[in-house]
Symmetry: C2
Subunit: 537 residues, 2 copies
């Protein structure tokens, strides 16, 4: 009845089994390769043994303070710093639940997230203190700062500790939760409505990360250029737990820097990086260099890679771009396979060994190959997807109808089962009864030789439904005018897709994970080029 | 990716497709075989055309009164009467949601069910009026009685109509909901906790009933001896919709009567009956008759048939007993196959074509063949299971972890995929660290030559956990003593299973669907035989 699944190589090697909790993986890893480098930040290195010592001390601190055990939730509100690892894994080794908050959140939203989840302890940095809501009214009784000032220690109306104090506690022998037990609470950055608090089990990280590392043939000699924040699922699972599962190293950076990227690769000898589609576009727009093919980098993990860029980019930089599809609630829906170079361009791969994927029409019936519909998924093993949305059971039930997880994403599958992502369904623009995929439109714009980056949104139209607006960032020293972009569009896309509004910006707004913040573009400023005013019907 | 499923024969023949809503099936059936008998009650018969006329009139009445459309919920609180069909199907043909309440409920519980579901119209019988809660405070504004008295019409503080008035409305052209749309709200008779309101889609009835009829090879010449009430999933799906899907007839009886059963079969020429395990036991305990093999009855649909009774019963009465497994939330998990006589005794069959079945351990991992665990299931097509529990999303999420429906039932599967039901997990008795299946113990007791019926429950023990109590009904003119049953148990079961308390009753308490009401047996009355007092350790 239940199919037998291929063994999960890295976990089998480390633990002799296919499912695990994060403390199990850490205990085994620290024992197996204690002297291997886990983390590099600037000029400082931590071996797996050193890192595990700090992790166990933070766990010990939590136990001393009564924050150990599954009913406790420890919140962090940190940028990319080494301490984020000790707090994250230390919380799990205390058997507690980890709540990593996006460092970009502020005020009411932050207050709401803390109150909803019931965290009593918050770890952050001193520069964040002025952005925090009233902590005691959110239920926080202990504030830990990685760099507290004397003033903060003396004047805040709450107990303030430094991370160093916490890390000087007596180490605790790690608690070993079950693989299916609740590990973290992740807030999804939904574009509309209240953020959802996703309840993630341990095995979601352990087994999925091991599957990814195995499929990409990563090993203990790999170094991950880690610029994605640790409050993002890809920062945790793809970028961190994959390395812990095989004993590789993480070289941490505060963010993605287009100008410093290649020198960072050179200094860190990094072999892997996560490059979202716009990262690839930015790197591609740099002038070619004689050293392009001589870097240590060998794998770029990405999603939604522009079709035309894929092979030329690989060729120019002598790297392998691996596409992957998944989401906070359910990873890794497709798993790249480094041996399988037959993946059709534009596809994000086939269903991973632990998942079933399908395309459903609006009646939840399978769509034929090639026909777009909603991407839906089911796990073939346990503990590989969210347990549900915290304090929000109704959206969970809606998302799980007919016992399929409904991603809300639009895609299609070919006859061989390769998945093609079309768009986030909530990003579909509707203009005069036609559905327009912002993702498709953006990919056409990126073919224009002068366009470095772009974003397409729908603007409410006086005619009802929406008009299309394109925001564009040009490559260095280009001076293309909106009307030229407009003509390019008229030449290269269906008439109903051609943007009415076109604006050229010096840069597009990005959030902390490098995604374009489309909500900031949902306006038509004075002076924006308008095809209707420009005389076109 | 998605497997292709075998066509659903009866729906293909009727509608040319595999999924349907109840009004679609009725429209097609009334057109296809208008003169075929749908219902027989006492000496009255209704053809499909006549029945459909009444159904469309009741729908028309609802539309006239503003109760048509998916936001309206029509409640019924009826025994087995023909009117229950017109109300049920008429509600669907008006596009409204049907809420069939168990006629045995009373007072607070009934009031809670009406309030929770938001029904505004209630159909019942005059003798039920004194048992009703205050209807206006439950939100009911119209009461329809099948037999209203003049006093009730004049004195009730709410509008009272007769069903005949409703059925004289102008017929409505049926609304055609989607197969996946909400059809009924069914309250499950959970033994503990608040009843759950199960939201059922149309296709749950249509496709599953057609699958059942096809697997059992039922056709338009079949007559169903219909004694199960219409507020029970088996009364609706197995007993009614199966016949509508193939154009068979339903012969309605108010309840199961051991003494009248065979004469009812004779008069009705019934070919099918649903016989719960205790029904089989009761019929078996009658003295053999020369006419046992000469009845029209050819199929008995049952669940949990005592293993030793199966083949002898079939042989004695020249019938085929078909075992089936499912539940209100998800039917038909196993589908019997009349051509497959290889089903091992004691098994309730293999997964039906539309479902995946598995046995999970407590970590939601598959148990090996032969090892008991929780029975879990997934649908392979849409609209075949509940949409969720109404106003109770959290239990739905708990029941749907890892995107499997968790039945809470214990069972095992053999190498060939045959399912063996062991027990309802909430009925497991725990005695001195041993789990005891009441179902297994009861099946052993039924092997005693003098025992006609029995029920086993757990009684809180002074030693902690539970002691076992057996309540027994003997066959006619037997005078077996508790101590003799006790000795039989000591000879035939593990020591820890042997009941401490044994009581002999003239009859066991049954609810309206013939199930033994175990809650009424959870006591140790004065004078009940007690092995400890009787001198045994």
């Amino acid at each position: 009845m239940t199919v037998s699944l291929p063994p999960v190589g890295p976990l089998r090697q480390l633990l002799g089994k296919d499912d695990a909790s994060i403390p199990e993986v850490w205990c085994a890893r620290a024992k197996r390769t204690p002297d291997q480098i886990f983390l590099v930040r600037d000029d400082v290195r931590w071996t797996y043994a050193e890192a595990f010592e700090l992790i166990c001390r933070f766990a010990g601190f939590l136990r001393e303070r009564g924050h150990a055990g599954p009913e406790n939730r420890v919140a962090s509100y940190l940028p990319n710093v080494p301490e984020a690892f000790w707090v994250w894994f230390g919380t799990h080794c205390a058997g507690s639940v980890y709540l990593p908050l996006n460092r970009a959140h502020k005020g009411v939203l932050l207050s709401d997230m803390l109150s909803r989840t019931g965290a009593r302890i918050l770890v952050t940095e001193s520069s964040a203190v002025s952005e925090l809501p009233d902590l005691s009214s959110c239920g926080i009784d202990t504030l830990i700062l990685i760099d507290p000032t004397t003033k903060q220690r003396n004047e805040l109306p709450i107990e303030v500790l430094s991370v160093d104090e916490a890390l000087s506690a007596q180490r605790m022998n790690p608690a070993i939760p079950k693989p299916g037990a609740l590990a973290t609470i992740m807030f999804t950055s939904g574009t509309t409505g209240r953020s959802k608090a996703v309840l993630q089990p341990h095995n979601m990280y352990c087994r999925n990360a091991a599957r990814l590392a195995e499929a990409c043939e990563w090993n203990e000699r790999d170094v991950f250029h880690a610029w994605l924040p640790l409050y993002h699922i890809a920062g945790q699972l793809h970028q961190t737990m994959s390395m812990v599962s095989v004993g590789g190293a993480i070289c941490q950076f505060s963010t993605f820097s287009r100008t410093k990227f290649w020198s960072q690769i050179e200094q860190s000898h990094a072999t892997i990086v996560i490059g979202l589609a716009n990262v690839l576009t930015l790197l591609w727009s740099d002038p070619p260099s004689i050293r392009d093919r001589e870097r240590s980098l060998r794998t770029i993990l990405s999603a939604a890679v522009p079709k035309d860029l894929h092979r030329p980019f690989e060729e120019r930089f002598a790297v392998c771009i691996m596409e992957q599809y998944g989401m906070t609630e359910m990873e890794l829906l497709t798993v790249p396979n480094i041996r399988d170079r037959q993946v059709p361009l534009g596809s994000c791969g086939r269903a991973g060994p632990d998942f079933e994927l399908a395309i459903f029409d609006e009646d939840d019936k399978p769509a034929p190959p090639g026909t777009p519909g909603e991407i839906v998924a089911r796990p073939k093993a346990s503990g590989l997807m969210m347990l549900g949305y915290d304090d929000d059971a109704l959206p969970t039930v809606e998302t799980w109808q007919n016992l399929w997880f409904h991603t809300e994403d639009i895609g299609y599958m070919d006859e061989e089962g390769f998945l093609f992502f079309v768009d986030r369904s909530r990003h579909v623009i509707r203009r005069r009864s036609e559905n327009i995929s912002s993702w498709e439109l953006e990919n056409i714009l990126l073919r224009h030789p002068d366009i470095a980056e772009c974003a397409v949104v729908g603007i409410p139209s006086a005619l009802g439904e929406q008009d299309v607006k394109a925001s564009i960032c040009l490559k260095p020293s280009r001076a293309t005018q909106p009307v030229e972009v407009y003509d390019f569009c008229r030449r290269n896309m269906a008439g109903f897709m051609v943007p009415r509004y076109i604006e050229i910006l010096r840069e597009l707004p990005h959030n902390h994970v490098g995604k374009i913040e489309k909500t900031q573009l949902l306006n038509v400023r004075e002076g924006v080029w308008d095809a209707e005013r420009a005389g076109d019907p």
